[in-house]
């Protein structure tokens, strides 16, 4: 977000046209997507939004064509000469209000890219559209607010260090109740080998995942080898969703600096797909901050490796209800983490069921791309973008959906409530937390809220 001042039509048009013209200079994928689509309609047939409501405005190829028409108009000879006949159309500043809706009606799940004969990833263009809006100060208010809070406080919930410490104290008490012994969650420990960064939801809203991670460290006798940070406890980074690279970097920088400050060897990312993706697939790959003195690992990979070593034991009867796993788009399609959560769930649950299709072919929950945080479009999320997911969940007969993403969790919880389904939604390490054996005993607890 740069400014919120009201811009004139000419200023809006100027900025939009310049931003679209800039696509000519890359990145390569974006320009090639402008020049390669054959309009075959395959993307629409695999899109969760278009499945929910088959209207032109929800067609991924049409959304991309909004940008492409302007691109053709200003950068191609055929577009300049033949206009509409060559798929070119000028930008009308009146359209900017509809852009604010349309570019936030794509969940950025990248399912289209998996099936497109050319691998066109429409989420790249969606993000471009959002970036243009963001530069104009026209990011939808609900989204803009999340970014603002996150940049001001370091987390999307706007919680301070005291609130964080209180939450951690509460979790330690809970674990004491469950197991009758102290299971520590170290905070701000310099020199700790592992620095655990969950989404803040896994501390404040669905904290069982964090308890699960703490229990794994405890069982392995590594309770002194890890830490959390009272400043940096939310990997969520909405710059990815608003299209602002500057915001994304600013948010990210705080975490990388804290990891360096703590002298960590392993940045252990929590159950948050886009947080891990930004760290592993974007920040590290692009070398934003040069050589990193630590490696980036996801907590599900880490726990699955410990399972492999045979160091963890479970009482599966604690999780006897049917459990399914929803692959978050950012883990399944964008980071290739699909087997690790399944290993954890198979080890800790008696009745694990797949939903179909799954892994990299899984359907989006309907709240991807940050939409989950937008309550102003809840009707859209419940009645359109989430309909396929509802169908998939119903088919499994599961009473618990495990997923490794706070946005998926929020969307799925609302979806289940909205459609009156008696299905609980939670994390992967949540299931582990309920059944892992500490000194031969699983957590002693009847009710989970």
């Amino acid at each position: 977000m740069t400014s919120t001042a009201k811009l004139s039509s000419e200023e809006i048009k100027g900025q939009v046209v310049d931003a679209v013209k800039a696509i000519k200079d890359g990145p390569r994928a974006m320009r090639m997507y402008m020049e390669t689509c054959v309009k075959c309609g395959t993307c629409a047939s695999v899109c969760p939004v278009y499945f929910g409501k088959s209207e032109k405005r929800y067609n991924p190829a049409e959304r991309t064509d909004i940008i492409r028409r302007i691109y053709n108009k200003y950068t191609t000879t055929s577009g300049k000469v033949f206009g509409k006949l060559a798929g070119a159309e000028d930008f009308d500043p009146e359209d900017i209000e509809s852009w604010r809706e349309i570019f936030y009606e794509c969940t950025g799940c990248r399912r289209c890219a998996t099936y497109c004969p050319f691998g066109i990833d429409h989420s790249v263009i969606t993000r471009k559209g959002r970036a243009i809006l963001d530069k104009l100060g026209l990011t939808p208010d609900t989204m803009a607010k999340v970014v603002q809070v996150s940049l001001e406080t370091g987390n999307t919930d706007g919680a301070g260090p005291d609130a964080f410490r209180a939450a951690i104290d509460f979790l330690e008490e809970e674990m004491k109740d469950e197991h009758g012994i102290d299971v520590k969650i170290p905070v701000d420990v310099k020199g700790a080998e592992y620095f655990y960064v969950p989404p803040s939801g896994d501390v404040l809203v669905n904290p069982e995942a964090t308890m699960g991670v703490a229990k794994v460290f405890h069982v392995l006798g590594m309770a002194d080898n890890w830490t959390m940070s009272s400043k940096c406890f939310d990997g969520a980074n909405y710059g990815l969703f608003t299209g602002s690279d500057a915001d994304m970097k600013q948010d990210n920088k705080l975490y990388v600096e804290e990891a360096k400050e703590l002298g960590t060897k392993t940045l252990l990312m929590g159950e948050c797909g886009h947080a891990y993706r930004i760290m592993k697939m974007i920040m590290e790959k692009a070398g934003w901050w040069g050589e990193l003195p630590f490696e980036i690992v996801n907590c599900m990979e880490w726990t699955a490796a410990r399972l492999e070593e045979g160091k963890l034991e479970f009482d599966k009867s604690k999780n006897s209800h049917p459990v399914t796993y929803h692959d978050p788009c950012n883990f399944g399609r964008s980071c290739g983490i699909t087997e690790e959560p399944r290993a954890i769930l198979n080890a800790s649950c008696a009745d694990f069921r797949e939903m179909y299709p799954n892994r990299s072919d899984n359907w989006c929950c309907g709240g991807g791309g940050g939409l989950s945080a937008m309550d102003d479009i809840i009707d859209f999320r419940m009645e359109i973008s989430g309909t396929k997911k509802l169908e998939q969940v119903r088919e499994t007969g599961a009473t618990y959906i495990a997923t490794a993403c706070s946005n998926c969790k929020r969307q799925l919880t609302q979806l289940m409530e909205h459609h009156e389904m008696q299905v609980e939604v939670g994390g992967v390490h949540d299931m582990l937390s309920r059944s892992i054996l500490i000194n031969g005993k699983a957590a002693d607890r009847e009710e989970y809220v």
């Binding site: 990145p27 390669t36 075959c40 629409a44 049409e62 006949l85 099936y115 004969p117 050319f118």
Partner: protein, 239 residues
């Protein structure tokens, strides 16, 4: 008519080939030099060699489309494969390649039978697939609503080329390969096409003129996907 023959038969071939070659090279060169941050989509091949192999697989088998839309795959893949076969088959029109085929063990009768049999079948089948693709574009809402003039134009242009080609094969007038070979030999040696007998055939003239338009149209239209596919898959399957 002489002017038309001269322009279509004597000038256009050079222009079309030049436009195609220059525009394609320019296009690929510009794509190549653009910055390209990784936007990996999984499952992604682990090595660049495996990535290249995957791209070839996508380009040859349309494997993503096979997974995404089986009905479209049948017609799209069929259409492109036959198009490739027809392209190869046309070498017999350009030059006398029968000698090569004979040295590979084919008999003169065999070559004739292959040309008439597979060539004739291909001409008919591809026309049917093109019609199906066009009808699909008009009938299925998710395709119709994103279709623009360019999408129709490409298909109609190819359709017209197919029809004129089929007329030459199945029409009453005898189509003489020797004449076209002479004509293309003259073109290749930059000789004068004045009085080239092949150009007396108006259907041939029309067929070739449309085909040359198509060749020039490729780098500036949706048909550019024929080059793009070798890049776009590489981009997202790169870890």
């Amino acid at each position: 008519m002489e002017v038309v023959r001269f322009v279509v038969g004597g000038v256009l071939p050079y222009i079309a080939v030049a436009v195609f070659v220059v525009a394609m090279i320019h296009r690929i060169y510009t794509w190549k030099k653009l910055p390209s941050p990784s936007i990996t989509l999984f499952p992604a091949p682990a090595t660049s060699r495996a990535n290249a192999a995957n791209t070839v697989k996508e380009a040859v088998l349309f494997s993503s489309l096979f997974k995404g839309d089986r009905f479209l795959w049948v017609f799209a893949w069929g259409f492109h494969v036959i198009l490739a076969l027809i392209f190869v088959g046309h070498f017999r029109v350009f030059a006398n390649v029968d000698g090569v085929l004979v040295s590979m063990g084919m008999s003169e009768e065999g070559i004739q039978a292959m040309s008439a049999g597979s060539g004739g079948t291909a001409g008919v089948v591809i026309f049917v697939t093109a019609v199906v693709l066009l009808v699909r574009r008009l009938v299925i809402p998710r395709v119709r609503e994103i279709t623009s003039w360019g999408d129709h134009l490409a298909l109609l242009l190819i359709g017209a080329i197919l029809i004129t080609g089929n007329i030459m094969r199945f029409g009453p007038e005898h189509f003489d390969l020797t004449l076209t070979r002479d004509y293309f030999a003259t073109l290749a040696s930059f000789g004068s096409i004045n009085g080239a007998a092949a150009l007396e055939n108006n259907v041939f003239l029309l067929h070739m003129g449309l085909a040359l338009l198509l060749v020039m149209y490729i780098p500036f239209s949706k048909i550019l996907h024929f080059g793009g596919i070798f890049f776009t898959h590489q981009l997202i399957r790169k870890t």
